[in-house]
């Protein structure tokens, strides 16, 4: 197809080449306003982004405004497209984890989890995943859920000028990161969840650290609730803003806190449990206010529910000490359990001693499994999990080889961002920032 035949974007807002253009760089805009007033223009098109502090990455928002009212809002995405899905087709199934974890980098565990659950369904080993591995997956997902919600609430507050909300949120998020780093070795982009289980077992003292973390995070959450929920400015800025009812959510395929803020308690963890979520005791908070304020409240409440799940995970980890964290099938599980060495790298001296000293077959097996990977029978599956942003889906196709034929992620942010127009149009320009924050998307996931 030639460039001429390629369908283009919907075009510029105005065909008029004489239309005045202003470029604003965040200083005093009064001269621009005066110039616009002098030209007697009421209707102004504003390009917000792609680099704007409130756009959670590189989102371009095209706003048509009349005075302070937004008459049209369009989102332009693609500035962070990195071709992750295409790249995954050229890497082994296991290597794919390191790619998909970088999509929505604020909630990386969810991509890892949904991808690995999909592979396990393709392999037909869903029931063979050890219980301890599932507990660790749930623990990681819930820690990440808290982190993601805290970023959503914290940056949302920061964008309205309340820096303390952000700093408090990030302090609490750091506490969750300490646990994640202790267990996986990394704060984000962990590549911890692997096909068949998780990459390594917990280090000594992990359960105690988890139990010590819970009250700390709870205290910060309480602090944030005190700061926000009765604050008249906060209420004034969020209540009744960015309204979207149930019918709108259904039409636009919106899931997650936005859907639950309309009163529908749809949560994949309850509707279609995975990783043993049906055995945990937790609630799905809902609201019927359908506005930005109720979404903040829901995210706060979900953080408390996640803490409940994490406490249950700690008990289960204590009870299942010493049990495997990877499927028994040696054709899928990597052969060594790594331990953190003094150099900060994962290593297993016993395994090195075995493959270098005693068993050449073990060395060959290890080499083949890591470089070539394992084969996945041909077919396709669709797997979903409840990410903090909504329903995260993955469509995996295998051609029977060691690499995915196709891996497609349905990022909830990509879908939910379509609601931006309906959330903003007819409202004030200052509320656009609130609407963006209440959708809670991450451009890494949106653009992939």
């Amino acid at each position: 197809m030639t460039a001429e035949q390629t369908a283009h974007a919907t075009g510029a807002f105005t065909e008029d080449p004489e239309a005045a253009e202003y470029t604003a760089y965040g200083s005093d805009w009064s001269s621009i306003a005066e110039e616009a007033a002098r030209l007697a223009q009421q209707r102004i098109v504003v390009n917000m982004g792609p680099q704007h502090p409130s756009t959670h990455g590189v989102l371009r928002v095209m706003l048509e405004i009349e005075g302070e009212t937004v008459t049209e809002a369009r989102a332009g995405i693609g500035y962070l497209h990195t071709g992750i899905e295409k790249n995954m087709e050229f890497r082994t199934w296991t290597q794919g984890v390191t790619f998909c974890t970088r999509m929505d980098y604020v909630a990386s565990m969810f991509q890892e989890a949904v991808y690995c659950l999909g592979i396990e369904k393709l392999l037909g080993i869903t029931d063979d995943v050890p219980e301890r591995a599932s507990v660790l997956r749930v623990l990681m997902m819930e820690l990440t859920r808290i982190g993601s919600h805290l970023v959503a609430i914290g940056t949302g507050g920061n964008e309205m000028g309340a820096t303390t909300i952000m700093t408090t949120a990030f302090i609490a998020r750091e506490d969750t990161f300490r646990i994640i780093e202790m267990i996986t070795g990394l704060r984000t982009n962990n590549a911890y969840i692997r096909p068949g289980g998780v990459s390594q077992d917990t280090p000594e003292g992990a359960v105690d650290a988890i139990r010590a973390m819970i009250p700390k995070v709870r205290q910060r959450l309480d602090e944030m609730a005190d700061l926000q929920l009765k604050n008249p400015i906060f209420i004034g800025r969020l209540q009744g803003i960015a309204h979207l009812n149930l019918a709108g959510c259904m039409a636009l395929g919106i899931t997650g806190p936005i859907l639950r803020s309309t009163g529908l308690p749809y949560d994949v963890r309850k509707a279609e449990p995975y990783c043993g979520y049906e055995t945990y005791d937790f609630q799905v908070p809902t609201s019927t206010d359908s506005d930005a304020f109720s979404r903040v409240v829901l995210r706060m409440e979900e953080c408390y529910e996640s803490l409940k799940i994490i406490a249950q995970c700690a008990d289960r980890l204590e009870a299942s000490e010493g049990q495997p964290v990877m499927v028994a099938d040696k054709k899928i599980a990597w052969p060594a359990q790594l331990a953190l060495g003094p150099d900060g790298q994962g290593n297993s001296l016993d395994h090195i001693r075995e493959i270098m000293g005693t068993s050449m077959e073990a060395l060959i097996h290890h080499f083949k499994l890591v470089t070539e990977g394992f084969k996945v029978p041909a077919g396709q599956v669709y797997q979903t999990v409840e990410s903090p942003k909504g329903l995260l889906g993955v469509h995996l196709v295998s051609d029977g080889g060691t690499k995915p034929w196709r891996a497609h992620f349905r990022d909830p942010g990509f879908n939910n961002l379509q609601a931006l127009s309906i959330l903003c149009e007819g409202g004030q320009i200052a509320d656009v920032v609130v609407a963006i924050a209440s959708i809670d998307f991450v451009l890494g996931g949106v653009d992939r």
């Binding site: 039409a251 041909a378 396709q380 051609d399 029977g400 080889g401």
Partner: protein
């Protein structure tokens, strides 16, 4: 590994194959095959059409859909595949809108949300190279099924579902962008991830990954798509 000799496709019994995923030659992919197995040709197929009973709730859904479609049912539903506990309906594109409307509106089906569309490219499947895959989610009945439409590369068009599922707007733009599948009736089928003036559709299998060879400790490491691959 000894399992190199086991078939890559699951035992399908006498199921008629629906989709030819790939034809593989030799032991390895790109980069030259030095194994001596260059003459080896294997066809890799998707699990084929299933026979009734399909099991679980699948029979009921297919029955209701066939009843609603009436005389068109045979034309509309090309085949039904049940694999790994998931139901796939291969639908003829001429009847896609009718099928989607029934799936959304009928009280026994009620698939309220379409989770977007995922394109897949099977260059070896002649006349059916491009597939559009629509996962449908029913919140009322807590079910999910997959509607799949196979298209020829030369005539890669199908009706847009945006009139029934407005959420598919961006998903269809993405599939157009990456696969060149044209969704007729889409309000604004423009590229969404790639720049507007981009040429080609990057997720097609004949579109190169790109990348340059990298030197590491004196050795040259080829880019990922030109390395010898264990396919």
């Amino acid at each position: 590994m000894s399992d190199d000799l086991t078939p890559a496709t699951p035992d399908m019994g006498d199921r008629t194959p629906v989709t030819l995923i790939n034809v593989r030659e030799g032991m390895f992919g790109a980069g030259g095959d030095t194994s001596g197995y260059a003459g080896l040709v294997r066809t890799i197929e998707m699990p084929g059409a299933s026979e009734r009973p399909y099991g679980e709730w699948f029979d009921g859904v297919v029955d209701v859909l066939e009843e609603l479609l009436g005389d068109d049912a045979d034309d509309a539903i090309e085949s039904v595949v049940v694999d790994r506990g998931e139901l796939t309906l291969y639908v003829n594109r001429d009847h896609l809108l009718a099928v989607a409307r029934h799936l959304r509106d009928d009280q026994d089906l009620r698939f309220e949300i379409c989770l977007g569309v995922s394109g897949v490219h099977y260059p070896a499947d002649e006349g059916r190279e491009l597939h559009a895959v629509f996962p449908m989610q029913s919140i009322t009945h807590n079910r999910r099924l997959r509607v799949e439409v196979a298209l020829s590369e030369d005539d890669a068009r199908l009706p847009s579902l945006t009139s029934i599922y407005p959420a598919n707007n961006w998903h269809e733009r993405e599939t157009w962008d990456f696969f060149g599948i044209i969704f007729d009736g889409h309000p604004s089928l423009a590229r969404i991830e790639m720049p507007d003036d981009w040429v080609g559709h990057p997720q097609r299998k004949d579109y190169p990954l790109g990348g340059i060879p990298v030197e590491y400790k004196g050795a040259e490491i080829p880019s990922p798509d030109t390395r010898r691959q264990y396919r």
